[in-house]
């Protein structure tokens, strides 16, 4: 306690010098704190996105090949055969294929343009959605091309208001569909496509035969396919198998550019995390360098201080200070210096990370998310204290080793 007061007093005597000395520490702690905040933010977001099925899903869609004029077809669609073959690959939990169009859906007295999805029983599962009423699509619905539909809550509200939709009939392109089930509301996400709950789901076969028409080049076409692996570790292998399978069925060699795209959402996220990591590494190196430069500054100023106060040290020894007392006095002073710098650095780092979050706002979402919590602050502050001890030790030790006679005679 007395040591702290002593240290404060001696630093306050030289305010400007102390402040300048702290600068390196302030910047260092600031960047360490910002780094940790941004790093934690990125980690939290990655975890957010990775816990769902998306991490296990490989999305397939056709890839437009503009320059392959010789083959006449710019791209090739998937079909039911592809879907069956993909489902038979090892480590596949399930596959879901769909066709999707914006259509006007007519209910008694009103209509609403929404996304009409022609798919199968797995569509909802792949999107992490559940039924709330009625039943999901069944294999038989696809087999017999039944005109049944499962409705999302947002579409239901538009068409039926508060009344119960199951059992009612909606019409799409003059084809009546019986609503057999309703999907539970999936909250929060208004994605780039709008409300995720705004759709109706019908059998894929019915969509082809009654609504969208069958492509006469590719029979039983499917717009895109979601292949879900049993677990995330199998995704990379699955992606290779998919590539091999599709190339073989399309007569492409390994060297040819593929006319399909297979993307894993986790991979996208990982790339995003990668760029955050680069940013983090940048901040970390900046923080480390500033802390070291700051530490050297602290050491320098403490050495100057020891020289300036040589007589004081001699006197303290003559009145009974142990070498350990002197060592502690100067060590505490260095640590207090760094500690104050650390606190100012935390303020700076907090401001900087808030600024980064604001500045990276795009369409209401921050690209750089930050998590500022007490452990983060403690870690950043701790690094300043450690710097204080590490770089304060040498000057403090030098002070404690002074010869009292020479110290007292020092001018």
């Amino acid at each position: 306690m007395t040591l702290l007061r002593l240290a404060f007093g001696s630093l306050m005597e030289r305010k400007l010098r102390s402040l300048l000395t702290m600068l390196g520490i302030i910047i260092g702690v600031g960047s360490v704190f910002a780094m940790l905040a941004i790093g934690n933010g990125a980690k939290a977001r990655v975890l957010d996105n990775f816990d769902g099925l998306s991490a296990r899903t490989v999305s397939l869609r056709p890839q437009w090949m503009g320059n392959r004029s010789s083959q006449a077809r710019p791209y090739r669609r998937f079909n039911e055969t592809d879907l069956r073959d993909l489902a038979a690959l090892p480590d596949v939990e399930f596959v879901s294929g769909n066709l999707q169009r914006e259509e006007t859906v007519v209910a008694p007295g009103t209509d609403w343009t929404t996304s009409v999805v022609g798919s199968d029983a797995y569509y909802l599962r792949q999107r992490d959605m559940e039924m709330s009423d009625g039943r999901n699509l069944m294999p038989e619905d696809l087999e017999f091309g039944r005109t049944v539909t499962v409705i999302g809550t947002a579409a239901s509200r538009r068409l039926f208001g508060q009344s119960y939709p199951v059992g009612q009939v909606v019409t799409v392109r003059k084809v009546p569909f019986e609503i057999v089930g309703m999907v539970a509301e999936k909250d929060g996400e208004i994605g780039w496509q709008g409300d995720v709950n705004d759709f109706i789901l019908i059998p894929r076969t019915t969509a082809r035969s009654r609504l969208f028409g069958n492509d006469w080049l590719v029979r039983n076409q499917i717009d895109n396919i979601q292949v879900v692996a049993k677990d995330q570790a199998a995704v990379a292998e699955l992606q290779r198998n998919i590539d091999y399978l599709l190339r073989r069925s399309r007569g492409l060699s390994a060297a040819d550019a593929p006319d399909f795209a297979a993307r894993n959402f986790a991979g996208v996220q990982q790339r995003q995390a990668e760029s955050t990591r680069i940013f983090t590494i940048l901040l970390a190196s900046m923080g480390t360098i500033s802390l070291i430069v700051g530490g050297v500054g602290v050491m320098n100023i403490m050495l100057v201080s020891v020289t300036e106060r040589t007589r004081e040290i001699g006197l303290r020894m003559s009145i009974g200070a142990r070498r350990g007392d002197i060592l502690r006095q100067f060590l505490v002073e260095a640590v207090v210096l760094c500690g104050i710098g650390g606190l100012l650095g935390l303020a700076l780092g907090y401001a900087a990370s808030q600024f980064a979050e604001r500045a990276s706002m795009q369409r209401g979402e921050a690209l750089l998310q930050t998590v500022t919590d007490v452990p983060t602050a403690a870690l950043a502050f701790g690094s300043a204290v450690i710097i204080g001890v590490a770089f304060g030790y040498l000057p403090a030790r030098r002070a404690s080793k002074l010869n009292p006679v020479e110290a007292l005679r020092h001018e």
Binding site: T2, G9, E13, R311, E312, G314, L315, R316, M317, S318, I319, G320, A321, R322, R323, G324, D325, N403, P404, V405, L408
Partner: protein
């Protein structure tokens, strides 16, 4: 006869400066009984300060022994020596050696901050000692707000605050005018009467006359050791 406060035997200390050997102390044997006020005089470079540093355990002899208050201080380790200085000794220096930014009270209380266990009444004690040296009304002044004589009184108070057995004063009047010197010497004489053992180093014969015993040094040796009858009687 009182028991000995200081006993030294054959103290030697040599320095080599530029190939030249200087015998700062060349066989000093000395004993001072408890309660005696001794002045050590001699020309500049005769080894007075070196002797005082030995007595205070600030410096160690090349050979010979120093016993203070029954303790062989050359044998004490660093920590015990610090404790010995804190509890048994009081130093007064020519240049006062006060902390310039601290009040008289804080300066005087400083030695008590190194005492183990730490006294809880350090400030009261310091104020009392400042009162005893005649500075009861200046306890909140900083050294720069005090005259030289007052500063030296603060330094003496600091030396006294820990109830020392031995006061070592190296030219305490060296930086003061003659009137102020006299005041300081009167203070030391009073302390001597109260039973404190005092070793006063000076090159001023007039100042030395306040002591009960005067030791003269030259070239690291004691060349004269006489009792000052006027003072012994008083």
């Amino acid at each position: 006869m009182n028991p000995e406060m200081i006993t030294t035997s054959e103290l030697r200390k040599t320095y080599t400066l530029g190939g030249q050997t200087i015998h700062a102390l060349d066989g000093v044997s000395l004993s001072v009984p408890e309660g005696q006020f001794v002045a050590v005089i001699g020309a500049s470079g005769s080894g007075k300060s070196t002797l005082m540093n030995m007595l205070g355990g600030l410096d160690s002899p090349d050979s010979g022994s120093v016993e203070i208050n029954g303790q062989d201080i050359a044998r004490l380790g660093q920590r015990r020596l610090a404790r010995f200085r804190n509890e048994t000794l009081g130093f007064v220096f020519q240049s006062f050696q006060l902390m310039p930014r601290q009040t008289a009270l804080a300066n005087v209380a400083l030695p008590l901050s190194y005492r183990r266990p730490k006294p809880t009444d350090a400030r009261e004690k310091a104020a009392a000692v400042l009162g005893a040296v005649g500075l009861g009304d200046r306890i909140d002044n900083k050294p720069t707000q005090l005259s030289g004589g007052q500063q030296q009184r603060v330094a003496i108070a600091r030396a006294l605050v820990g109830d020392p057995k031995l006061l070592l004063a190296d030219e305490p009047t060296g930086a003061l005018d003659s009137q102020t010197s006299e005041d300081i010497m009167q203070l030391l004489v009073r302390l001597g009467r109260e039973g404190l053992t005092i070793v006063l180093i000076t090159h001023d014969l007039e100042v030395a006359e306040y002591a009960q015993r005067v030791i003269t040094m030259r070239d690291g040796r004691i060349i004269e050791d006489r009792m000052n009858n006027a003072r012994v009687a008083a």
